[in-house]
C-alpha cells in the first residue's frame, strides 16, 4: 500500500493510522498511530531492532506500509539522512552536491552548495573524492546533501553518529536554527541531546 502524498500547506506533515510493516514473517511495526504537525520536532527512540529506521523510511516514502494508512508530503519537500550519507565515493564532495542540486533543480546552486560546505567545514575538502573522507566528514556531507534543497520536513536517522565533538556541536546549532521554520523527525539513541528542541517523543518498543 503506497503512502498517500499530502500538501505541505496542510497542518499535518505526517499522519499515521494503524501503521504496520512486515518483512516476510517478521513484524517490525504494528498498529502505530501518530501525527507530526507542521513545525513539530518529533524524537523517535527505541532499542536496536525496534523499527526506528523502518519507520523513518516509511515516513520519507522509501518503503511502503504493509498495513494501515500513512500520509506524507511530496518528496521534493523531504530531506532524509539515513545511515548512509548517500554520496558517490568516486565523485568529489562538490560533484556529489552538484548532482543532487541539479536533480532538485536548485536555483543559485553554486552559492547554496558553497555556503553549506563552508558551514559544515568541508570547503577545503570540496575537491576530494568522498571515498577518501573520514566517516565523520561523510556524515557532514550527508547533512549538506539533506539540507541542500531547504526541505520543509527533515527526517534524520541517528544524525550524531560518527560526528566528532565539533561536528556534533555544529549539528546542535544547525538543528536549533532550523527548529523555528522546519518540521523535524529525528531518530536517536540519545534523546537528551535534542530534548530542549523536541516537541514530542515516539518511543518504539
Amino acid at each position: 500500500m503506497a503512502p498517500k502524498r499530502i500538501d505541505a500547506g496542510g497542518r499535518a506533515m505526517i499522519q499515521a493510522r494503524g501503521l504496520g510493516k512486515r518483512f516476510g514473517d517478521k513484524r517490525v511495526l504494528a498498529e502505530l498511530d501518530f501525527e507530526v504537525a507542521d513545525g513539530d520536532f518529533l524524537v523517535v527512540t527505541g532499542p536496536n531492532g525496534s523499527g526506528k529506521t523502518t519507520l523513518l523510511r516509511l515516513c520519507v516514502g522509501l518503503a511502503a506500509p504493509t498495513s494501515g494508512e500513512l500520509d506524507i508530503p511530496d518528496r521534493s519537500l523531504i530531506g532524509y539522512l539515513g545511515h548512509d550519507p548517500l554520496v558517490y565515493r568516486e565523485l568529489t564532495a562538490l560533484e556529489n552536491l552538484n548532482l543532487y542540486g541539479r536533480l532538485y533543480r536548485i536555483l543559485q546552486r553554486r552559492e547554496r552548495i558553497g555556503m553549506l560546505l563552508e558551514r559544515f567545514g568541508l570547503w577545503d575538502a570540496r575537491n576530494e573524492r568522498t571515498g577518501s573522507l573520514s566517516r565523520g566528514m561523510l556524515q557532514r556531507l550527508g547533512l549538506c546533501r539533506t539540507l541542500l534543497h531547504e526541505p520543509a520536513l527533515l527526517v534524520l536517522d541517528e544524525p550524531y553518529s560518527s560526528l566528532d565533538a565539533e561536528g556534533a556541536t555544529l549539528l546542535d546549532s544547525e538543528l536549533a536554527d532550523l527548529r523555528p521554520t522546519r518540521t523535524l523527525v529525528v531518530a536517536t539513541h540519545d534523546p537528551t541531546r535534542v530534548a530542549r528542541l523536541a516537541s514530542g517523543r515516539l518511543a518504539l518498543a
Binding site: R57, V60, D74, R75, I78, V87, Y88, R89, Y100, L103
Partner: protein, 213 residues
C-alpha cells in the same frame, strides 16, 4: 519533457564520470569480448562457416552486455545510493533512462573494438549487421537495465540477472542473427525495432515499482 531529459542526462553523465574515474566496467567488457572472439576463433574448425561465426559474434555481444549490466547498479547498491536518487523529485524512470544511456555508451565502445576484431579473426561486417547490432543494443540496454535494478535488490544478484535476462534476450538473438545472415534483412531489423519499442515502454513504465520497497 526537457526537464525529464535533462535529469536523465545528468544521471547518465554521472555514470560516465564514475566509469572514467573507476575504470572497472568498460575495460572488463572490452577484454571479455576480445577474449571471447579469440576463443571462438580457435574453437571453430579451420574452414569456418560465416554463418557460425556471425552466430558466435552475437553470443559474444550478448554476454559482454551482461557483464556491463551486472555492474550497472554496483555504485548504487554498495552505499544504498538508489535511496538518494529515488528521493529526488525527478521522475523515477529518468534514473532508468540515465542508466540505459550510460550502458548503451559502454556497449557501443566495447563493440567499436569487437567488430574490427571480428573482421580480423573471421570475416567482414556488412551494413545490416551493424544496423542490427545498434538496434539490439537499444533492446539489450532497455530490458537489461530494468532487470539489473531488480537483481541488485536481491541477495543472489549474480545468478538472478542472467536467469532473468537471457530468456528475454532470445528475440534479440533471433532478430540479430537473422538480420546479419539473410539476403533481405529488413524484416528482421523491423522485428528488432519493434522489440526495442515494446520492451522500452514496458521497462520505462515498470521501473518505479522496481526501485521502491
Amino acid at each position: 519533457m526537457r526537464r525529464y531529459l535533462a535529469d536523465a542526462a545528468v544521471l547518465a553523465r554521472k555514470d560516465v564520470l564514475l566509469e572514467l574515474r573507476g575504470r572497472e566496467t568498460l575495460p572488463a567488457m572490452v577484454l571479455f569480448v576480445v577474449s571471447a572472439l579469440v576463443v571462438f576463433h580457435f574453437a571453430l574448425p579451420g574452414e569456418q562457416s560465416r554463418l557460425a561465426a556471425l552466430g558466435l559474434l552475437w553470443v559474444a555481444i550478448l554476454f559482454t552486455a551482461l557483464l556491463g549490466l551486472g555492474r550497472a547498479f554496483v555504485a548504487e547498491r554498495e552505499h544504498r545510493l538508489l535511496d538518494g536518487l529515488v528521493l529526488a523529485p525527478c521522475d523515477r524512470s529518468a534514473i532508468w533512462l540515465g542508466k540505459v544511456a550510460a550502458t548503451f555508451v559502454f556497449l557501443l565502445l566495447a563493440e567499436a573494438v569487437a567488430l574490427p576484431a571480428f573482421q580480423l579473426f573471421f570475416s567482414g561486417i556488412d551494413g545490416p549487421t551493424v544496423a542490427a547490432v545498434l538496434l539490439a543494443d537499444v533492446g539489450i540496454c532497455a530490458v537489461g537495465t530494468l532487470l539489473a535494478a531488480m537483481a541488485s535488490a536481491g541477495r543472489a544478484r549474480e545468478l538472478l540477472l542472467p536467469l532473468l535476462f537471457l530468456p528475454l534476450a532470445i528475440p534479440i538473438m533471433i532478430g540479430g542473427v537473422g538480420a546479419a545472415t539473410v539476403e533481405h534483412p529488413a524484416r528482421y531489423l523491423g522485428f528488432l525495432g519493434l522489440y526495442d519499442v515494446l520492451f522500452a515502454i514496458l521497462a520505462w513504465a515498470s521501473f518505479e515499482y522496481v526501485v521502491t520497497e
